[in-house]
C-alpha cells in the first residue's frame, strides 16, 4: 500500500491527488503499526495509530487550506507550477 501511495505521489500532477496519495501512505504506515502491536499483543500499536491519525487530520486541514490558496493564485492545481524555489 505504501509503495502504491509512493508511486502515485510521484506520478500525479494534480495537487489533490498528491495529498490523497499522502493519506494512503500514512494509512499504510499506521496499518503496519497496528499489525505490529497485535503481533506482540500490546496496545501500543493502536496508540501510535491514534497519533498518526491525529497528525493526519491536522495535516489534511492545513494542506487543504493551502490548496485553496494555491488554486486562487495559480488558477490551477499543477504541482510542477509551484517551482518558485528553483535554484
Amino acid at each position: 500500500m505504501f509503495s502504491l501511495g509512493l508511486t502515485s505521489l510521484l506520478v500525479r500532477r494534480n495537487l489533490i491527488f498528491v495529498l490523497m496519495s499522502l493519506e494512503v501512505m500514512l494509512n499504510a504506515a499506521g496499518l503496519a503499526f497496528v499489525v505490529a502491536g497485535s503481533r506482540w499483543h500490546q496496545a501500543d500499536g493502536q496508540v501510535v495509530f491514534l497519533f498518526i491519525l491525529a497528525m493526519a487530520a491536522a495535516e489534511v486541514s492545513v494542506g487543504l487550506a493551502l490548496v485553496v490558496q494555491i488554486y486562487r493564485r495559480f488558477r490551477g492545481l499543477d504541482v510542477d507550477k509551484l517551482s518558485g524555489m528553483r535554484g
Binding site: 504541482v79 509551484l82 524555489m85 528553483r86 535554484g87
Partner: protein, 622 residues
C-alpha cells in the same frame, strides 16, 4: 670618543625612520633639519673620531666595537660589529663629509618637490647603509649594507615614479646589480663553507693559512667577489645600468653614482686584499676589467650629448682606474684616487645640477653655451673640477692620484706596459671628453637662456668641493702613510726605461693634447666636429660608442628576449592546471548540483524515495 662610533650609522638610520613615519606631516624646515642635520652630526662625530684615532692610534691599528650578536646558529655567529681602521675611517670621512655637502645642496635643489621628506628619508637610509657597509666587521653585515645601498639606489633612481621611464631605469639598475650580488653571496657561501667564518680579519687569516697561493678555491672566491664588485661599481660586463641611472635627481647621481655607492666595489676588494693576493689570476682579472672599462667608457663619453650621461661614463672610467690600481696591487693609490674622485666628481654633478636647474631642465650640451659670463660661480667650480678630472698638472688633486695609478700600472710587481698604455690612453680620452663638455657648455654663443639662479645652499657646497679638488692633492703623503698600516705598500718592482717623472710628463702632455683638440673641435671650428660625425666611418663609430658599445643590445638579445619568450610560453604550465582544475571542478559540481534544485515537489519526493531505497539496500544487505 671611539665609543661614539655606533652613532655614525645610527643617526641617519633614526632620521630615515622618522622621516618615513612622520614625513608627510613635517614642515619643510623640520624635514630639512632632520635630514641634513643627521648627516651633519654624523660628519661631525666622524671627524671627532678621526682626530681621536690619529692622535692616539689604537694598538693593532684598529678598533672594534661589537654591538650585539646577530645570529647564533651552530657555529655561525655573525655579529653587528663595527671595525674601524684607517681604510674604513678614510672612506667614512669622505662619505659623511661629501654626503653632508650634497644634503645641503639638495635642500635647495628639491625644495619644490612634493616628495621632499621622502627624498631625505631615502638619502639618509642610503648614507646609513653605506656606513654600515664600510664599518662592518664581518662580510654578512657588509652584505646587509650592500643590499641596503642597492635598495636605496633603486628607490632614488625611480624617485619621480610617475614617469614610467624612471621606473624602468631603477629596475634595470636593481636587476643588473642583483646579478653581481648573487655572485657575491655565492662567494660568501664558498668562503664560509671552507673557512668557517665570515669575520673579515679571521677570514683573511684563515685564507692565508689554508689556501695556498693560486689555489682554485681562492681564485674562485676572489672572482665571485669581483663579480659582486663589478655589479655595484658598474664595470664591465655589468656596467649597463649606470648611464640610465641618471634618470634620478642630480643630488642622487652625485652622491650615489659618483662618490659613494659605486665605490663600494673598490672598498670590498681593498678590504679582502689578502684573498686577492692569494689569487694572482683573479687580481689580474681585476686589472683587466678596470683597464678595459676605462677605455670603453672613455670612448662612450666622447659621444654623449646629455651632460649627466657624460659624467656617468666618466665615473665608470675613473672607477676603472681604481680597479686597475687594485689589480696591480697599488692599493693606496686606488684609495687616494677614490678620495680625490669623490671630491671632483661630486662637484661636477652638483655643478651640472645647477646648470640644468638654471636652464629649466635642459640636459643636452649641444643646446647650452656661453654660460661663462652668465653663471660665473658654476663656471669656475666646474672648470676646476674638470681640470682635476683630466689631470691638470700640479695644482689639481686629480693629477696626483691619477698619475700615481698610471705609474703603478707600469712599475708595480703585477703591472705591465699594456696596462700602463691603457691608463695613459684613458688620460687622453678623459681630457678630450671633459673639455668637449666644458667648451660646449660654457663657451661659444649663448644657447638656452638662464631662467633661475642658484641660491646659497647650492653654491656653498660647490665652493667647498672646488677648494678640496685643488688642495686634495697635498693629502697624498699623509694618506698613503696612514693607509700603510692596513694595506700593503706598493713597491716599485721594475722601472725599465720609465721613471715616475717621465710618466707624469707624458700624462701632462696628453692632457694638453686633449685640451687642444677639444678646443679645436668644440670651440674654434665646430664644423669640424660635425664633419667628423658625418663621415661614414665616424658615423658608425659615433653610433656604436653612443650606445655603450652595443652592450644594451647584446643583453637584450641574449637575456631579455629569451626570458620573456620562456615566460610567454610558460604562461599556462601544468602547475597552474592544479589551481584552475580545482576552480573548474568546483564550478562543475556547482552546475551539476544546482540542477537538482528544480523546485518541484515530485522531483524531491522521487529523490527521497531513491535515497531511501539505496539506504535500505546499503544498511541491510551489506
Amino acid at each position: 670618543m671611539n665609543s661614539w662610533l655606533w652613532l655614525i650609522p645610527a643617526l641617519p638610520f633614526a632620521s630615515a625612520l622618522m622621516l618615513a613615519l612622520l614625513g608627510s606631516r613635517l614642515s619643510r624646515t623640520a624635514a630639512t633639519a632632520l635630514g641634513v642635520g643627521s648627516i651633519g652630526l654624523s660628519a661631525l662625530i666622524t671627524m671627532v673620531v678621526a682626530v681621536d684615532f690619529f692622535t692616539a692610534p689604537p694598538s693593532a691599528g684598529s678598533y672594534t666595537e661589537v654591538l650585539w650578536t646577530w645570529i647564533r646558529v651552530g657555529g655561525f655567529e655573525p655579529q653587528i660589529g663595527l671595525y674601524l681602521d684607517t681604510l674604513s675611517l678614510v672612506m667614512v670621512l669622505v662619505v659623511t663629509f661629501v654626503g653632508f655637502l650634497i644634503h645641503i645642496y639638495s635642500a635647495e635643489f628639491m625644495i619644490e618637490d612634493e616628495g621632499y621628506s621622502r627624498f631625505f628619508g631615502y638619502m639618509n637610509l642610503f648614507v646609513a647603509s653605506m656606513i654600515t657597509l664600510l664599518l662592518a666587521n664581518n662580510l654578512l653585515l657588509l652584505y646587509l649594507g650592500w643590499e641596503g645601498v642597492g635598495l636605496c639606489s633603486y628607490l632614488l633612481i625611480g624617485f619621480w615614479y610617475r614617469d614610467p621611464a624612471n621606473g624602468r631605469a631603477a629596475r634595470k639598475a636593481f636587476i643588473v646589480t642583483r646579478v653581481g650580488d648573487t655572485a657575491l653571496s655565492v662567494g660568501l657561501f664558498l668562503m664560509f663553507t671552507h673557512l668557517g667564518t665570515l669575520h673579515i680579519q679571521d677570514l683573511m687569516q684563515r685564507a692565508s693559512e689554508h689556501w695556498p697561493s693560486g689555489s682554485t678555491y681562492a681564485v674562485v672566491a676572489a672572482l665571485l667577489l669581483l663579480g659582486g664588485a663589478v655589479g655595484k661599481s658598474a664595470q664591465l660586463p655589468l656596467q649597463v645600468w649606470l648611464p640610465d641611472a641618471m634618470a634620478g635627481p642630480t643630488p642622487v647621481s652625485a652622491l650615489l653614482h659618483a662618490a659613494t655607492m659605486v665605490t663600494a666595489g673598490v672598498y670590498l676588494i681593498a678590504r679582502t686584499h689578502v684573498l686577492f693576493a692569494l689569487a694572482p689570476s683573479a687580481q689580474f682579472a681585476v686589472a683587466v676589467v678596470g683597464a678595459v672599462t676605462l677605455l670603453l667608457a672613455g670612448f662612450s663619453a666622447l659621444t654623449q650629448h646629455d651632460i649627466k650621461r657624460v659624467l656617468a661614463y666618466s665615473t665608470m672610467s675613473q672607477i676603472g682606474y681604481m680597479f686597475l690600481a687594485l689589480g696591480v696591487g697599488a692599493w693606496q693609490a686606488a684609495m687616494f684616487h677614490f678620495v680625490t674622485h669623490a671630491f671632483f666628481k661630486a662637484l661636477l654633478f652638483l655643478g651640472a645640477g645647477v646648470i640644468i636647474n638654471a636652464l629649466h631642465d635642459e640636459h643636452s650640451i649641444f643646446r647650452m653655451g656661453g654660460l661663462r659670463k652668465e653663471m660665473p660661480v658654476a663656471f669656475w667650480t666646474f672648470l676646476i673640477a674638470g681640470c682635476s678630472l683630466a689631470g691638470l698638472p700640479f695644482i689639481t688633486a686629480g693629477f696626483f692620484s691619477k698619475d700615481l695609478i698610471i705609474w703603478d700600472a707600469w712599475s708595480a710587481p703585477q703591472g705591465n706596459p699594456v696596462l700602463w698604455l691603457a691608463g695613459t690612453a684613458g688620460a687622453l680620452l678623459t681630457s678630450l671628453y671633459t673639455f668637449r663638455m666644458i667648451f660646449r657648455v660654457f663657451f661659444g654663443p649663448l644657447g638656452t637662456p638662464v631662467t633661475k639662479r642658484p641660491g646659497y645652499a647650492m653654491t656653498i657646497p660647490l665652493l667647498v668641493l672646488a677648494f678640496l679638488s685643488i688642495v686634495g692633492g697635498y693629502l697624498k703623503q699623509p694618506l698613503l702613510s696612514a693607509l700603510n698600516s692596513v694595506l700593503p705598500p706598493t713597491v716599485e718592482a721594475h722601472a725599465g726605461g720609465l721613471t715616475e717623472g717621465r710618466s707624469e710628463v707624458i700624462a701632462a702632455s696628453l692632457f694638453l693634447i686633449g685640451l687642444y683638440f677639444a678646443y679645436l673641435f668644440h670651440l674654434q671650428k665646430r664644423s669640424l666636429a660635425e664633419a667628423l660625425v658625418a663621415n661614414p666611418v665616424g658615423d658608425v663609430l659615433h653610433q656604436w660608442w653612443f650606445a655603450d658599445w652595443g652592450f644594451d643590445w647584446i643583453y637584450d638579445k641574449a637575456f631579455v628576449h629569451p626570458f620573456i619568450w620562456a615566460a610567454e610560453i610558460n604562461k599556462r604550465d601544468f602547475v597552474d592546471a592544479f589551481y584552475t582544475g580545482v576552480a573548474r571542478f568546483t564550478e562543475l559540481s556547482y552546475r551539476g548540483l544546482s540542477r537538482t534544485e528544480t523546485g518541484r515537489v515530485r522531483w524531491y519526493a522521487a529523490a527521497m524515495a531513491a535515497g531511501s531505497v539505496l539506504f535500505i539496500a546499503m544498511v541491510f544487505f551489506k
